[in-house]
C-alpha cells in the first residue's frame, strides 16, 4: 500500500468542504466522537441532514468567517491506499496557500460548479496546478443535482475545460460528474448519472498510478548531516546522511560532490541495522564514499554521469507569499534543499495575470503575484529544472528581517 497526496481546489461555494466531508463520511473515516460533535453543532443543511463541511473546518477564526483560510491536512485510508488531503482555500487572496498545498501533492481535484462552468477561478487553479507540475488532475463537476444530472451540461464543461487546458502544460485530466451534497459518484457510482461510464471519484483516487523517477540519471542526495561517532571502535567512521531526492544510488556507483566537483565511489549504503545495495528516491539513508573528501551540509551528491545545472544566475518562476512586497534592492536568503545562501532578485521578466494568463510588465511582486524572475545567488546552486525533476527544482526565499518564508521558486534554467 502506498500514499496518494491530493489537493482540493475550489471555493466554499463550489462545495469543496462538503466534497471532502462526503469522502470521509462515506468511506467510514469519521469516528463516533467526531460524529457526535458534528451532530451537536448547529449547522445543518436545508433538509436537516448533517453539514459535512464542518469536518474540515479547523480554526476558530475560520468558523466565525465560514471560510477555509489555511491549508488543512486530512487523513484517511481505504483497503487500497492511504490518502493525505491538502484542503486549500480557493479565493485569489489565498493563492499562496494553494501553492503551498500543491507543492506536495501528486494529484489535484479541481472543482467546478455545474451551474457556473469554467470560470476565472478555474483558470487560476489550473494554472497553479500546471506551474507546480502535479502528475494528475481530476476535474470534478459538482452540484450535478442542481442541473438535473444533465449530460449536456457536463459535456459542455468538459469541452470548455479542454480548450482552456490546451494552453497549459497539464499532464493528464480526468472528468467526473458528481454531487457532493447527495453523494453521487463520490464514493459510490450513482444511478442518477447513468450516462457516465467512468469511475467514482474514490475509485479513481484508489487506482491512479503514482510514479517516481528512479532512473540513475537523476540520482541526487543533498547532505543534511554528517555522522561521525568519533568513538574508539568507530574512529574513522564518516557517513553522509540525507534523503534521496530522485533517481537511485547503488554501491560502486561513481558520484560527484557539488558544488566542489570532487568525484568518488559509493563504498557502502547504510540504513540503521541494514546495508541495502541500492538507495532510491524517497529513502533516508547514510552513504559512505571510498575517498576522504571535504563534504559538509548543503553539498549534494549526484550521479557522476548526469550532473544538475550549476549557476549563481538562475531563471525561475516565482510566487510571492508575503504581505510585504518584493524589494529588488534587498538581500534575501534562498533555501534549496539543505543549502541556504544569500540572494537577490536580479531582474523581473514578467508577471502573470493568473485569471487570464496574460504576461504583464512589473517592477515588483505583491502578495500572491506569480511570474518569472532572474535570481542571483551568493553561492552557486546545483539544481534541476522544476518541470523535469521537481524534487531538485524547488526552493524558498526567506526574508532575513522577519525570517518569514516569502517566496516559492521553481527553477527553470541557467540565465545567460
Amino acid at each position: 500500500m502506498d500514499i496518494l497526496k491530493f489537493l482540493t481546489a475550489g471555493s466554499v461555494d463550489d462545495g469543496k468542504s462538503t466534497l471532502i466531508g462526503r469522502l470521509l463520511y462515506d468511506s467510514d473515516s469519521i469516528l463516533v466522537d467526531q460524529l457526535e460533535a458534528l451532530q451537536k453543532s448547529n449547522r445543518k443543511n436545508d433538509d436537516g441532514t448533517i453539514d459535512l463541511a464542518i469536518l474540515t473546518d479547523g480554526l476558530k477564526a475560520e468558523r466565525e468567517q465560514g471560510i477555509t483560510i489555511d491549508v488543512a491536512y486530512k487523513y484517511f485510508q481505504t483497503e487500497k491506499r492511504k490518502f493525505i488531503i491538502a484542503d486549500t482555500p480557493g479565493h485569489i487572496q489565498y493563492t499562496r496557500n494553494m501553492v503551498t498545498g500543491a507543492s506536495n501533492a501528486d494529484l489535484a481535484i479541481i472543482l467546478i460548479d455545474a451551474r457556473k462552468g469554467v470560470i476565472e477561478q478555474t483558470i487560476r487553479h489550473s494554472y497553479l496546478v500546471s506551474l507546480l507540475a502535479l502528475q494528475h488532475v481530476v476535474v470534478a463537476v459538482n452540484k450535478m443535482d442542481m442541473v438535473d444530472y444533465d449530460e449536456e451540461v457536463f459535456n459542455k464543461i468538459v469541452k470548455d475545460y479542454q480548450r482552456m487546458a490546451g494552453k497549459l502544460n497539464l499532464n493528464e485530466v480526468t472528468y467526473i460528474p458528481v454531487s457532493a451534497l447527495k453523494g453521487d459518484n463520490i464514493v459510490y457510482k450513482s444511478d442518477r448519472i447513468h450516462w457516465y461510464k467512468g469511475k467514482s471519484l474514490l475509485d479513481h483516487l484508489e487506482t491512479v498510478p503514482v510514479d517516481i523517477d528512479d532512473s540513475t540519471d537523476h540520482a541526487r542526495m543533498p547532505v543534511q548531516w554528517i555522522i561521525r561517532p568519533q568513538t574508539d571502535e568507530l574512529h574513522d567512521y564518516r557517513g553522509y546522511a540525507g534523503r534521496v531526492l530522485s533517481g537511485s544510488f547503488k554501491v560502486n556507483d561513481k558520484i560527484t560532490v557539488l558544488p566542489s566537483g570532487f568525484n568518488s565511489t559509493i563504498s557502502k549504503i547504510e540504513f540503521f541495522d541494514r546495508e541495502p545495495a541500492e538507495a532510491s528516491a524517497g529513502m533516508s539513508v547514510t552513504l559512505h564514499l571510498e575517498d576522504e573528501i571535504d563534504i559538509s551540509r548543503g553539498d549534494i551528491l549526484v550521479n557522476a554521469q548526469s550532473h544538475p545545472k550549476i549557476s549563481q544566475l538562475i531563471e525561475a518562476d516565482l510566487c510571492w507569499m508575503d504581505t510585504k512586497p518584493m524589494d529588488t534592492s534587498l538581500m534575501y536568503l534562498v533555501q534549496h534543499n539543505s543549502k541556504t545562501t544569500r540572494c537577490k532578485i536580479q531582474d523581473i521578466l514578467y508577471k502573470v495575470n493568473i485569471n487570464t494568463l496574460e504576461q504583464v510588465n512589473a517592477e515588483s511582486f505583491n502578495l500572491n503575484d506569480i511570474g518569472r524572475v532572474i535570481l542571483k545567488t551568493a553561492d552557486p546552486l546545483a539544481f534541476d529544472a522544476y518541470q523535469e525533476n521537481k524534487p531538485n527544482g524547488g526552493a524558498i526565499i526567506i526574508d532575513s528581517r522577519t525570517n518569514l518564508t516569502v517566496g516559492a521558486l521553481m527553477f527553470r534554467a541557467i540565465a545567460d
Partner: protein, 301 residues
C-alpha cells in the same frame, strides 16, 4: 523508467528521519520532548534510525507532572539506559514549590495545564531553540493546520494566522532570539500508522497500553485510574475492570477504556474497528470545542 512509490510506512519513516536530520542541521540546541507515550517512543526509534551509530544531537526532555503513571516512569528510565542518551527532567512540583503555578483544587483538579509553565521554564533554562514533539495532525482539527516546523514566541504562543508557508520538503527554521520552533516529524502519521509501525519495528511500550486489571472510578462518564492524585472521596466507587489506556498523559486527565487487547495485534484490531477516536479518551479536550486551539496558543505541547 519509473516505479511505484515506497510502501506507506517506509515513506512516513523516511520523511520523519529527514525532518529530524533537518533539526540537527539547522539548530544550535534542539531537544526531543519525551512524554513516555507511544508517539514520543516512536520518535526515539526514528532518531536512532536518523543518527546511529552516532549519538543523538539532542537530549530527551521529560516534563514530570508528579501524577504520571508509575509504569511510564519505569519505562522511561529503562529506555534511557538502553539507548544511552541524555535525559533532562522538568518537575511540575518544582514550579509549584517556587510559587510559579498554583495547584488546582477539587475533584477535577489536574496538573495538565500547569506543565506548560514547567515546559517553558525548562526550555528557557536550557535555551533550547527547537523542541521535537510527537503531535500528529490527525489528532484534533486545530492540529490539522499546524506546520511541521512551528514557530513559537518566547511565551510559547502559536499564532495560527502568522504561520509560515511550508513548501515541498523545505523547512524554514530561521528564528529570532527568544523564539523557538516546535518540530513535529510524525505530523502525517495517523494513530493506526503509529501502531502499525510499532508492531513492525517490535518497539517495547509501557504496560498500561495493554489490557490489564485495575481499580477504576467513573468521572464525567469516563473511567479513570483510582489514584490518590484524583482527590477521591466516598462518592467515588472503586471497581476492578480490564482496561487499557490509549494515551499516556497525566493520571488526572487520561481516561481508560475497557479492553481485552492484551497484545499489539488486538490493539490494532480494536483501533481499526474503534468507535472513539484517540483524543476522545482525554478529558482535557472536552472542556470546549476550541480547547485545543486555546491551549496551543498558550504554549502547550
Amino acid at each position: 523508467m519509473s516505479k511505484n512509490k515506497l510502501n506507506y510506512l517506509d515513506d512516513l519513516e523516511a520523511e520523519a528521519i529527514h525532518i529530524l536530520r533537518e533539526v540537527a542541521g539547522q539548530f544550535e540546541k534542539p531537544a526531543l520532548l519525551f512524554s513516555g507515550g507511544k508517539d514520543s517512543i516512536t520518535l526515539v526509534r526514528l532518531a536512532e534510525k536518523a543518527f546511529r551509530p552516532g549519538k543523538f544531537p539532542f537530549p530527551l526532555v521529560h516534563i514530570d507532572t508528579g501524577h504520571n503513571f508509575p509504569e511510564t516512569i519505569a519505562y522511561r528510565d529503562e529506555m534511557i539506559k538502553r539507548i544511552g542518551e541524555k535525559l533532562i527532567v522538568g518537575y511540575v512540583q518544582d514550579s509549584i514549590d517556587q510559587g510559579k503555578v498554583v495547584e488546582q483544587k477539587g475533584k477535577n483538579a489536574s496538573r495538565n495545564a500547569l506543565q506548560t509553565v514547567t515546559l517553558l521554564d525548562t526550555i528557557a533554562q536550557h535555551q533550547f531553540d527547537a523542541c521535537i514533539g510527537g503531535a500528529r495532525r490527525d489528532e484534533e482539527k486545530a492540529r490539522a493546520k499546524e506546520r511541521i516546523f512551528s514557530v513559537r514566541d518566547e511565551f510559547g504562543q502559536w499564532d495560527p494566522k502568522r504561520q509560515r508557508p511550508e513548501l515541498w520538503n523545505l523547512y524554514n527554521g530561521k528564528i529570532h532570539k527568544g523564539e523557538n520552533v516546535r518540530v513535529f516529524p510524525i505530523s502525517n502519521w495517523t494513530e493506526l500508522d503509529v501502531w502499525n509501525y510499532i508492531r513492525r519495528e517490535n518497539i517495547p511500550l509501557p504496560t498500561i497500553y495493554f489490557a490489564h486489571e485495575r481499580d477504576v472510578i467513573t468521572r464525567n462518564g469516563q473511567l479513570m485510574a483510582a489514584a490518590e492524585a484524583l482527590n477521591m472521596d466516598e462518592e467515588d466507587i472503586i471497581t476492578r475492570r480490564n482496561v487499557r489506556f490509549r494515551t499516556v498523559g497525566d493520571m488526572t486527565c487520561t481516561a481508560a477504556v475497557e479492553s481485552d487487547a492484551f497484545e499489539i495485534d488486538d490493539i490494532i484490531n480494536e483501533i481499526s474497528a474503534s468507535k472513539i477516536s484517540e483524543r476522545g479518551a482525554r478529558m482535557d479536550d472536552k472542556v470546549s470545542e476550541a480547547a485545543m486551539e486555546d491551549r496551543k496558543k498558550g504554549g502547550y505541547f
